[in-house]
Amino acid sequence: MPLLEVAHLSVDYQTTRGRVRAVNDVTFALERDEVLGIVGESGSGKSTLAQAVMGYRAQGTAATEGSVSFDGTLLLQCRPTELRRIWGRRIAMVHQNPLASLTPTMPVGDQVIETVRQHRGIDAVAARAVMLRSLTAVNLPDAARIAKRYPHELSGGQRQRIMIAIALSLEPDLMILDEPTTNLDATTEAVILDLLEEIKGRLGAAMIYISHNLRVIARIATRVAVMYAGELVESGPVDGILRAPAHPYTRALLACLPRSGMTKRTASLQWIEGELPAQHLRGQGCIFYSRCSARTERCQIAPEWAPVAAGHSVRCWYPQAASAVAAITGAATVGLPSADVVLEARDLAKNFGHRRGAAVRAVSDASLRVPRGSIVGLVGESGSGKSTLLRCIAGLEDPDRGTVRFLGVDLPASVGKRDKAVLRSMQMVFQDPESTLNPAHSVGISLRRHIQAMQGLSATDAQRCVEKALQQVRLDPGYQHRLPRELSGGEKQRVAIARAFLSAPELVLCDEPLSSLDVSVQSAICRLFLDLQGDDHSSYVFVSHDLSIVRYMADSIVVMYLGEVVEEGSAESFDRLPLHPYTEALFSATPDVDPGAISKRVRLQGQVSEADKSRPGCIFSPRCHLTKGPECDAIAPPWQETSERRYRCHWAPEELRALQAASPGAIGATALAGAS
């Protein structure tokens, strides 16, 4: 008998605009040793499903139908006291955003202890011993010290380990993980995923792993269920889903993701037109009908589940299990970088004052060169100073040292002192379009004001510009009358991009422009950037924590660590060894959707620490897996040059290549080919 059987589960919410069905007719079963990955974009109802599976009625739940049978117990029929005996002890949940999910006023150790005592009824001393064991089990060294800390005193990775330690402490039969690594840095995410795999092996617990990230699901799950608009549309073994996706949505979703080795010169990314259907537009037919490229009249009747392979079934009239995702070949862009340089930032440094007196070095002596018509990708973990560097270039931060040379002229540091012509030619696109659009202004007003301020155009000329700009970002002219709240996230980002491109800029600084967007929209925005670049021959600095996107988009890549540039070079050269050890770790932390892609495990120890910045030697050596020891600790590393790249390290290119090629596995299929 399966551990968990969910049958025809539906959840309705009561909202001010009436009843909304968040989860519709979901059926699945989970065996005792299985890891089921549930993948879905925002609004797919996956978090609601996770809670409903536990029998938890969230605030505003109007009705829950169907049945959830956990080890023979019908959870939806349980009384609260019965549920409380199951929650935490037999089914444990690891939540998204551990900072918000840990009680801020209680030391983290106590939050483990109270769970143990609640269920085991043991005394405080015994519970403390269990707590220390759990903290050690999630690789938190010095558990006794960490236990006394409050959540806000820990790093993101440590907090999530605490959440996992709470879940682990009672050795549950089922762990439900709701986006446990979202908002964590790539290297931290990789370590948490390793930990979860290890726990799975040791504990033998079943897991439901919920994520919007197919790459993460591909790494951890044995079986995958794809969720769309509250319904499961496809379910099967992980290999089957990734190699032979049967549902048009799954196939489209996979085609949105750049694979390793894919660049804008070799392939185009797909995206999914349209958006999640509004509640009242969901008819009797297939839930994906409105966005499906293969829909027919038959699809107006809801399809039944159809098997396509062993354990693999799909809810579609036209399952195409045989056709793997065709790599869309053909260059996405024709723009080629030219020799002249648009932007040259030299030795920029920025310290932020700190309350305790010591300055925080956000950026130290970073230089950046942007050739005309090129995309420079800027990567690094949070705290690496990539956003600060961008803001120094834009003049939003006053750098302490260094110069910004733009179109052959040295610019004043502050944006307020720069010419209008400079402002026109250097524009910025921010991470969160929500906060960069005035909520009280319609799209048209926002754009018109911008163009009038920039260029002093007449009202009719401005109007014409606005319409053209909207057309460029593929928004209907009717959008100018809409307010930001009437737009989806992707549409808002399109408006923000339209605004940046209104003044035909030479350089666009993009600060994580994709990270607030769903995968299916991300690729459309990527395409938009590439098309605009092709048309205008403008240049970009593109900051992102998503390495696969940067490797796809960029012509050259700059890697930052703790405010310093540690490696830079042409984008395609990053497929080849040697790599700076930090870059190597960063790349290996990004899981791939290609099943069977060999991924080397380079994991960083410790965390990014401000204290490392004031070291005399290499700032990365305390976390480096290839450190030479005393030399790295004492002497600042020199730049090592290869024909296509340069990096700061004590290892010379030949030595480093030999070291990295010799270690088991390699960085990915292409890197392997490049190294051999």
Binding site: R84, W87, T103, P104
Partner: protein, 314 residues
């Protein structure tokens, strides 16, 4: 924590100094001459001049202020011009009486407000929530003299349960004193009860909706444990500053309630003092009210830091 308290105490001293300057300047600007007030309109100019030099009123304002402040720092608040007795002597009983009334009000309103606010948040949008909320809003919407007057009519005149006045004195038994205090305390604290309740309701509702409360429930913890250890410490924090603010608000309430019930406290004294231009007394009362208010805020801030370790670290 100690550094924080010390720094805040320093700030408190600075605030009180600024307040003392302000109070002194205002009493200087106020129309009416103290000497004329004391001797009456028929006094000869010579008498007035003599009295002025006796009181030091002919000296520059800055010197007068220095003398006054020096006295205050040594516990000498000057001599009441109206009672012709040291201010401390006049103030002490009034201050004691008001302290009894105000503390009773806070001790009644704060716990009740917190408890009712929590209940409302837990039973959000239920009939109970609506009932509690509307009654308290109704009570808060009326000024003290209306609620006080109504209570006198209902409980003293009609029902005859409680006396319509409150006095002090050794002749009273404890039971007598308590029964006399019930109506003034109620009249004084109804408004702040409503404030505290509304704040607690909003704050607790937000906490109840937070992810960490959901996470705590999904750990299988007892509901009571979740409320006591996960909801309350976080929810009370913001409410503390409202309680501190209501202590300041009470100074105004005391004036009305004490006058209404004939209670010999600071509020009634203040009215009398203003009417009679007793400047030394007025200055002292104003300074005391400011000090109490500042202390209450300091206590609230310290309490918040003790409850929530995040406060002050960001």
């Amino acid at each position: 924590m100690l550094r924080f308290v010390l720094r805040r105490l320093g700030l408190l001293a600075l605030t009180l100094f600024a307040v003392s300057v302000l109070i002194f300047s205002i009493t200087q600007i106020l129309p009416g001459d103290v000497a004329t007030m004391i001797l009456g309109m028929q006094a000869t100019p010579q008498d007035l001049a003599t009295l002025r030099s006796q009181l030091g009123l002919d000296q520059p304002a800055i010197v007068q202020y220095g003398k006054w402040l020096g006295g205050v720092l040594q516990g000498d608040l000057g001599v009441s011009t109206r009672f012709q007795r040291p201010v401390t002597e006049v103030l002490a009983p009034a201050l004691r009486n008001s302290a009894v009334l105000a503390s009773a009000g806070i001790l009644f309103a704060a716990p009740l407000g917190l408890a009712l606010g929590l209940i409302c948040a837990l039973r959000r949008n239920s009939p109970l929530d609506y009932a509690i909320s509307s009654v308290t809003i109704f009570a808060a919407a009326m000024p003290e003299f209306v609620t006080g007057g109504l209570m006198i009519i209902v409980f003293s005149t009609w029902l005859g349960w409680l006396p319509p006045f409150a006095g002090t004195g050794s002749a009273r038994t404890l039971a007598q004193s308590v029964s006399e205090l019930i109506l003034p305390v109620l009249a004084l604290s109804l408004v702040i009860l409503a404030y505290i309740l509304r704040m607690m309701r909003a704050s607790a509702a937000e906490v109840l909706d937070s992810s960490f409360v959901k996470a705590a429930l999904l750990k299988g913890l007892d509901r009571r444990r979740v409320i006591a250890f996960h909801v309350l410490p976080v929810a009370i924090g913001p409410t503390l500053s409202v309680i501190a603010l209501s202590i300041g608000w009470m100074a105004g309430g005391l004036v009305i309630v004490e006058s209404l019930f004939g209670y010999p406290g600071l509020g009634r004294l203040l009215v009398f003092v203003i009417r009679n231009r007793d400047i030394p007394l007025l200055q002292s009362i104003a300074l005391i009210i400011a000090a109490v208010y500042a202390m209450a805020n300091l206590c609230a801030d310290i309490g918040q830091r003790m409850l929530d370790p995040r406060v002050g670290t960001k």
